[in-house]
């Protein structure tokens, strides 16, 4: 039943690294060099040289071990700077470490004696309750994380999700369940699965649904067993003719997959949706793991979803990326505009391979080619391989998962947006985490190198009261208020044109600009930043800039950056203050365009039609309720910008319990 094939990588680069190979080589060279001459010399000199070398070897090895420390710490600092984690730098704002907010290097993580500057923020109920979103999916209370098993069945979209029924922190994980006709208006249902079997008593973790020809549904999910081993289990609806899929049966023969030899018992989770094997009768499913620090995706084959055979080798592996969680694997059409069923392959398709990296809590993806006959996926560009290249979202975003919507022939992407405030605040407000607005995913035919994500069109049904601002001229260093009334639930589409002459006249500007290290919108350059200020109060004591920044190198090529700047989003010290973003491809003739979904403490920002996306969490203390405002701004020094914007207010999605159940 369970597969026993051991995993063998053709070459594991990790194994090639050892502590002192260089020393051994030079040592050997030394010894062999000297022994060549010493054939004519007495044995005593040989012994002396050998012992001295041994002494030298141990001495150098000791020092080498010592050197590991600063290098590891440097890596840790870099890792910590790239993810949300506590900080205590000396700048006025980011003093008090936040558990998921401000970045912190190891060397800065020192205990401070009492000082006046470090006020603990007195959150009020008004501030905390404002943070709750109006049209993003979130449970009524408590903790949520990964989206699970999304699917469409008998007229209803289903979302399952990792949920803690007891508290606003992670733990006691069950499968929450909600349904919607339109991916926007959700109705809560009872739990789909709770941890009540030996094969999942310690956690009903993430999984995916597969819809078989004929409409049968199978769910594969990770269970944490009573022995604390991660296994894959099978579940299916108790009643397939129930459109709400209320009840689920766990296959009594679970688990169906257990960690194979060579894979850690705690490194085996998150099975994907299955796709048809080339023979047309068997199914293939993949899940991630790691071997040392190499992230991998391995593939199992099944004909009945009960018995599985591990395929030789791995679908793909990338060194130094660590554990691959929530692997996702699906085709996109290179020619058409629709999504594709997960089993599609052949000419006119590429395959996306995606992984959530445990190491840095980011979701990465790459486009490539899938060869099912050799169980291999190859990236189009190995330099932008999974885990080292493009991210699905450059903000607070993880554990994403797609499904094929057979009703509208779309591939839809869900993603978990966690909190970047303190755990104490989460406990006070009684909840943590939201899901993104579901996004369609298509191949970007214009660039050929990325996917496009865009909020599902059903989100537009929430729009009302449109206001348009046409050709607003923004001189360098200017701000233009957009008087639209309430500014906490908005759908904004904005475009920006940089003065052509000034752009061309600028020879060099800010080469090496990087959103994350830039210091945000307060850092002025010749050709940026310019964009929108959301969730800003009238005096701009709190503001969240979402902006473009153009850098130019002397050879004339320009790079456009798209950033979301939380550094001044709140007076409170115990929230995340990162600047998120990346470069975004802009093709000749394109204006710079952005779409923003503002929903209280969540802002989802899309650049160039969804080429790059940034999800942010912001927790203002003043720029809330009626005090929140919206502005256009241009903080560049050398160029004026013409902006246009269309802004809608967004209704609440009225997410509530399914009536009369």
């Amino acid at each position: 039943m369970a597969a026993n094939r051991s995993l063998t990588l053709p070459y594991d680069p990790e194994l090639a690294v050892s502590d002192a190979p260089l020393l051994e080589q030079s040592d050997q060279a030394e010894v062999s060099g000297s022994s060549g001459q010493s054939r004519q010399r007495p044995v005593k000199v040989l012994a002396g040289i050998f012992l001295s070398s041994l002494f030298l070897l141990t001495l150098i090895w000791t020092l080498f071990q010592g050197q590991e420390e600063p290098r590891d710490q440097a890596q840790m600092i870099n890792a910590n700077l790239n993810k949300s984690s506590p900080s205590s730098s000396v700048s006025p704002y980011s003093l008090i470490p936040a558990s998921r907010g401000v970045p912190q290097g190891v060397s800065e993580k020192t205990f401070r004696g009492v000082s006046d500057a470090n006020d603990i923020y007195p959150w009020t109920n008004a501030m905390l309750s404002w943070q709750r979103t109006s049209y993003h999916f979130q449970p009524e209370k408590h903790w949520m994380n990964d989206p699970n098993g999304p699917l469409f069945h008998m007229g209803w979209y289903h979302l399952f999700y990792q949920y803690n029924p007891d508290s606003a922190i992670w733990g006691n994980i069950t499968w929450g369940h909600a349904v919607s006709r339109d991916l926007i208006h959700w109705l809560y249902l009872p739990f789909a699965m709770v941890p009540d079997r030996p094969f999942d008593v310690n956690g009903v973790w993430t999984g995916s649904a597969t819809i078989l020809p004929g409409g049968k549904i199978v769910m594969l999910y990770t269970g944490d067993t009573d022995d604390l081993v991660q296994v894959q289990n099978l579940a299916y609806p108790a009643n397939l003719s129930d459109p709400l899929l209320l009840d689920w049966i766990k296959y009594p023969g679970n688990p169906v997959m257990i960690p194979p030899p060579g894979i850690g018992k705690k490194d085996f989770r998150d099975p994907t949706t299955a796709w048809l094997a080339p023979d047309g009768t068997k199914w293939l499913v993949t899940l991630g793991s790691k071997i040392n620090k190499t992230g991998i995706a391995m593939v199992y084959e099944t004909s009945d979803f009960k018995g599985y055979r591990l395929l030789d080798g791995v679908l793909h592996a990338v060194p130094h990326t660590g554990m691959w969680e929530c692997v996702d694997f699906y085709p996109v059409s290179t020619a058409g505009d629709n999504g594709l069923d997960t089993s599609a392959n052949g000419p006119g398709t590429k395959h996306v391979l995606k992984a959530s990296l445990d190491d840095n809590k980011h979701d990465y993806y790459a486009l490539g080619t899938y060869d099912p006959n050799n169980n291999k996926w190859t990236p189009d560009d190995p330099e932008l391989d999974v885990g080292i290249g493009l991210r699905l979202d450059y903000g607070k975003y993880y554990a994403s998962k797609t499904f094929y919507d057979q009703k509208k022939k779309r591939r839809i992407l869900w993603g978990w947006i966690g909190e970047t405030d303190s755990e104490a605040a989460d406990l006070m407000k009684g909840w943590a985490s939201v899901q993104t607005i579901p996004r369609t995913v298509v191949f970007d035919k214009k660039t050929g190198t990325n996917i496009l994500q865009w909020p599902v069109e059903e989100a537009e049904s929430l729009r009302f009261n449109a206001t348009e601002f046409d050709t607003v001229k923004l001189e360098p260093g200017s701000i233009a208020p957009l008087n639209i009334g309430s500014a906490t639930q908005l759908d904004i589409i904005a475009s920006f044109e940089v003065d052509r002459e000034a752009l061309e006249a600028t020879v060099e500007a800010d080469v090496g600009y990087n959103c994350t290290t830039s210091g945000g919108a307060a850092s002025r350059g010749k050709l940026g930043p310019f964009g929108l200020l959301v969730l800003a109060d009238g005096s701009l004591s709190e503001l969240t800039p979402v902006y473009f920044y153009i850098s130019k190198s002397t050879d004339g090529s320009a790079e456009t950056h798209f950033c979301s700047d939380e550094s001044r989003s709140s007076k409170a010290p115990d929230v995340g203050k990162l600047v998120y973003g990346s470069t975004v491809p802009v093709l000749d003739g394109e204006k710079l365009s952005a779409r923003l979904l503002v929903d209280h403490s969540v802002v989802e920002s899309f650049a160039q039609g969804g080429r790059r996306v940034i999800s942010s969490r912001v927790y203002p203390t003043k720029a809330i309720y009626g005090a929140a405002r919206l502005f256009l701004f241009n903080n560049a020094t050398g160029v004026s910008v013409t902006a246009s914007a269309k802004i809608w207010h967004m209704q609440s999605a009225d997410i509530r319990t399914f009536p009369d159940l």
């Binding site: 002396g48 009492v114 733990g171 956690g203 554990m323």
Partner: protein, 172 residues
């Protein structure tokens, strides 16, 4: 021949002496190599070495020991605070705040880290240990102008949390 004997009789004990000194210093046992990757090597090593289970523990086990050490420290902090409430009533307000904070650390951060390590999703443990470092700092900060009577407790709790977070990072 005589020369060879002379050197051999001296070099061999020298070699043994050299190896006896240097090999243990560069000892690569797991506690040593783990603790040097944390912000406070001494604290890390002393806590781990004083726990009998550490000798046979893997990195995850060392992390569990460190979380356990935080649990003890937070529990004893609560006792100390209770006593101080009687002897230093003028510090009642920050002391009560600290009592809440250490209760929080026990009820949420320690629990979450323990579960994350036990069940095998360590990233949640790293977050909660980062959080508890911050919470210990907040207790200290609550004293503002007054000298804090539990500074060493707070520093320990902070540093143990930071060390635990660093150990858990090694599992990711």
């Amino acid at each position: 021949m005589r020369a060879t004997h002379a050197i051999s009789s001296k070099t061999l004990p020298c070699a043994i002496l050299v190896l006896a000194i240097f090999v243990p210093l560069s000892s690569c046992d797991l506690i040593h190599s783990t603790c040097r990757k944390t912000p406070n090597f001494q604290l890390c090593a002393s806590i781990l070495r004083s726990n009998p289970k550490s000798g046979s523990a893997d990195v995850r086990g060392l992390g569990l020991i460190m979380v356990g050490s935080l649990e003890s420290k937070a529990t004893s902090a609560l006792h100390t605070i209770k006593q101080l409430l009687r002897t230093k009533p003028h510090l009642k307000i920050p002391l009560i705040e600290c009592s809440k904070k250490y209760s929080f650390i026990l009820k949420y951060d320690v629990t979450e880290a323990y579960e994350a390590l036990r069940l095998g999703d360590p990233k949640f443990g790293e977050e909660s240990m980062n959080d508890s470092a911050m919470v210990a700092q907040e207790c200290e900060d609550g004293f503002k102008r007054f000298p804090c009577p539990i500074t060493s407790v707070n520093k320990d709790a902070h540093d143990i949390s930071a060390v635990a977070a660093a150990i858990i990072r090694l599992l990711l």
